[in-house]
């Protein structure tokens, strides 16, 4: 994180290049509907954008701050139901999405205030309990239709592209905020918490407040994704949006892609979007086997996930040409997974 005079100019150059690359990618995705006309492809891309957003959002708390949560379905579901209720009340969908993100952020405070007193695995277990309790309550809540689910009635023709661009913009916002966080003092504070919460507190970072903020930001993004999904599906139900499965998916993507990095979760989301659709269509039941095995491999072999594996591969190829020592990859991931937590 130290920036010397010399690297500053190089970084500027590289940043410019990266910016250009990003713009091309974004433009390419924006043009996509004109290149492929298949509604199915557009639908898959739309879902992939949503997965990428949740993955990036989870990573803000789970990766940057190192607080692994099994409970993001709570925010996804709250977002979905808020949008559904708001739209059926006649609100503009985009206003509904905003309300969703605010509600989800508020819920994140309710969840976070007590549970952030817990550390590491205890926090993780508490989030399982909360997420399952919320699901049970939602399946029994009658004004949202209980387990039957809830229907959004929208009295205008369905425009797939509108949904597509909403998701694209949302994913861009998520990635942009992730980049921003990784470069600001806030991000450094989260890093410090991940590395050692007590030491961070000693350095003047308030871990409790930082975790709550990261949680709220992540929840706001996840809630908005829930809303966008709900509008597309037009029918939501607690077993789906509040399901344990949803929490698991949201957690697996960034871990598989590369936890605590900016691009790992994006990669994880893309891989997940494709695997989920293509593999499930043919082998509906073994997809979790693949994820489970990947998770075990990642923990034991390559904590940096797919991104970490690429880095390692690159270094190996690179080291042969230029004999230069470099830091081992996946350092952030090691900090999250291996550091013992004091309860």
């Amino acid at each position: 994180m130290r920036v010397s005079q010399r690297t500053l100019s190089i970084r500027g150059l590289v940043q410019w290049r990266r910016f250009a690359l990003l713009s091309i990618l974004l433009a390419g995705l924006a043009m996509m509907p004109w290149l492929v006309s298949s509604p199915n492809v557009i639908r898959l891309l739309f879902l992939t954008f949503l997965w990428v957003t949740t993955s990036v959002a989870w990573n803000i708390l789970g990766g940057f701050a190192g607080q692994i949560s099994f409970g993001f379905a709570v925010f996804y579901g709250i977002g979905a139901y808020t949008t559904a209720l708001a739209m059926n009340a006649g609100l503009n969908p985009f206003l509904a999405f905003l309300i969703s993100s605010v509600t989800a952020a508020a819920a994140s405070l309710i969840v976070g205030l007590p549970t952030f007193r817990l550390r590491g695995p205890y926090f993780a277990i508490a989030t399982i309990g909360i997420s399952e309790a919320v699901r049970v309550v939602m399946t029994n809540l009658s004004f949202t239709g209980g387990a039957s689910g809830y229907r959004i009635v929208e009295h205008r023709p369905f425009l797939q592209l509108e949904h597509y661009y909403t998701a694209l913009v949302l994913a861009s916002i998520a990635v942009a905020s992730s980049i921003l966080i990784s470069r600001t003092k806030f991000g450094l504070g989260l890093n410090a918490i991940r590395q050692d919460e007590d030491a961070a507190a000693g350095l003047g970072v308030n871990p409790y407040a930082y975790k709550l903020e990261a949680h709220a930001l992540a929840a706001a993004l996840t809630g908005m994704v829930g809303g966008v999904f709900a509008r597309y599906a037009a029918f939501i139900h607690p077993q789906g949006v509040f399901g344990f499965q949803t929490s698991v998916h949201i957690l697996l993507m960034p871990v598989i892609g590369g936890i605590a990095t900016v691009w790992g979760p994006v990669l994880g989301g893309v891989v997940f979007g494709i695997v989920e659709e293509q593999i499930i269509a043919s082998f509906p039941e073994i997809h979790l086997l693949i994820y489970g095995a990947l998770l075990i491999l990642i923990i034991l072999v390559e904590p940096g996930g797919i991104l970490g594996a690429f880095r390692r591969l690159y270094r190996r190829l690179h080291a042969r040409r230029r004999d230069k020592t470099s830091n081992p990859g996946g350092g952030e991931a090691d900090e999250i997974f291996w550091r013992p937590r004091r309860g």
Binding site: T115, P121, A126, I130, V137, L289, G292, P303, P340
Partner: protein, 297 residues
């Protein structure tokens, strides 16, 4: 509410507590010695249930007896998994997220192996005894439940005896109390960890086999039980067999009597909510509560 009904409820809470205790004890042992939160516990319970089903369907072995066969099988599987995966985790005197996620990955794998091998429709074991009931005056007890309760209590007692009276048990208790001191006085912590892990998985399988004669199950079997097991071991102070028994009683009574005050659909929310409350307010378990009360008095 009549007296008979209350007695009925008390009896069913007691029987439930026995089942809950045997279901949680495997998790406690592993946590105590290795500080690993075994998220795959539900997966091993599911395997135990299906093993009992296979033994019953292929060899016509009564599911209660089958549980006794399942135990050593699962013990061996547990040691194999320890050798294959778990021993690579660094030892630590605090739980790590690596161990949590490793066990979670293992759970997903087990669950899907279950789908591949047994399909995902609900299965159940039906024996001539399944539906038989005993009546004592107005009190009705399912005889299978009673037998399962007996088996559960017997297993808990056996485990307690092993822990108190064998060299292995002494090593286990030493490691639970203080890992480093234990190593200094010559406890082979690697071997003890391996046997402990096997024992924990064995108990998970045993519990699964016992539960199989009470409930229907599918490869997703056990998530609600996993959460209950968490509640129980946290209530019991995380690392003692007697703590587990106390935790199981508390949860079983809260669930059985709680249902009188909330709609049936919310029954599961009781244990989920309790988990969060206990983690936050009673991280040291019931023991810390009594200590707190004593301090106040």
């Amino acid at each position: 509410m009549t007296l008979i009904e209350i007695v009925n409820l008390l009896v069913s809470a007691l029987l439930l507590a026995g089942i809950y205790a045997v279901m949680s004890v495997g998790m406690t042992v592993i946590y105590g010695v290795m500080k690993i939160v075994n998220l795959a516990h539900a997966g091993f319970m599911m395997m135990g249930a299906y093993l009992a089903l296979e033994l019953f369907e292929r060899l016509h072995i009564d599911p209660i007896l089958a549980a006794l066969i399942v135990f050593p099988v699962m013990f061996a599987i547990g040691r194999a998994i320890h050798w294959l995966l778990v021993r690579w985790l660094p030892t630590s005197d605090q739980p790590t997220l690596a161990s949590l996620l490793l066990m979670f990955g293992l759970w997903l794998v087990l669950q899907n192996l279950g789908y591949l091998i047994w399909g995902n429709s609900d299965r159940s074991i039906f024996t001539p005894h399944t539906l038989s009931i005993l009546r004592f005056g107005g009190i009705t007890i399912s005889s299978v439940r009673l037998v399962v309760f007996g088996a559960a209590v017997a297993c808990m007692v056996a485990l307690q005896l092993i822990l108190n009276h064998t060299w292995f048990g002494r090593s286990v208790r030493a490691l639970i109390q203080n890992r480093y001191a234990g190593q200094i006085v010559g406890v082979d912590d690697k071997k003890t960890a391996s046997i402990t892990f096997g024992l924990g998985i064995g108990f998970a399988g045993l519990a699964g086999a016992l539960l199989a004669s009470l409930y229907s199950f599918n490869p997703d079997f056990g998530r609600p039980f996993l959460i209950r097991a968490f509640v129980i071991i946290v209530l019991g102070g995380l690392e003692s067999v007697s703590g587990v028994a106390i935790g199981a009683f508390v949860l079983a009574f809260v669930e059985t009597f709680g249902i009188l005050f909330v709609p049936a659909g919310y029954q599961l929310a009781i244990s989920y909510g309790l988990l969060v409350m206990v983690l936050i307010f009673l991280p040291g378990g019931m023991a810390s509560l009594t200590a707190k009360v004593r301090r106040l008095a």
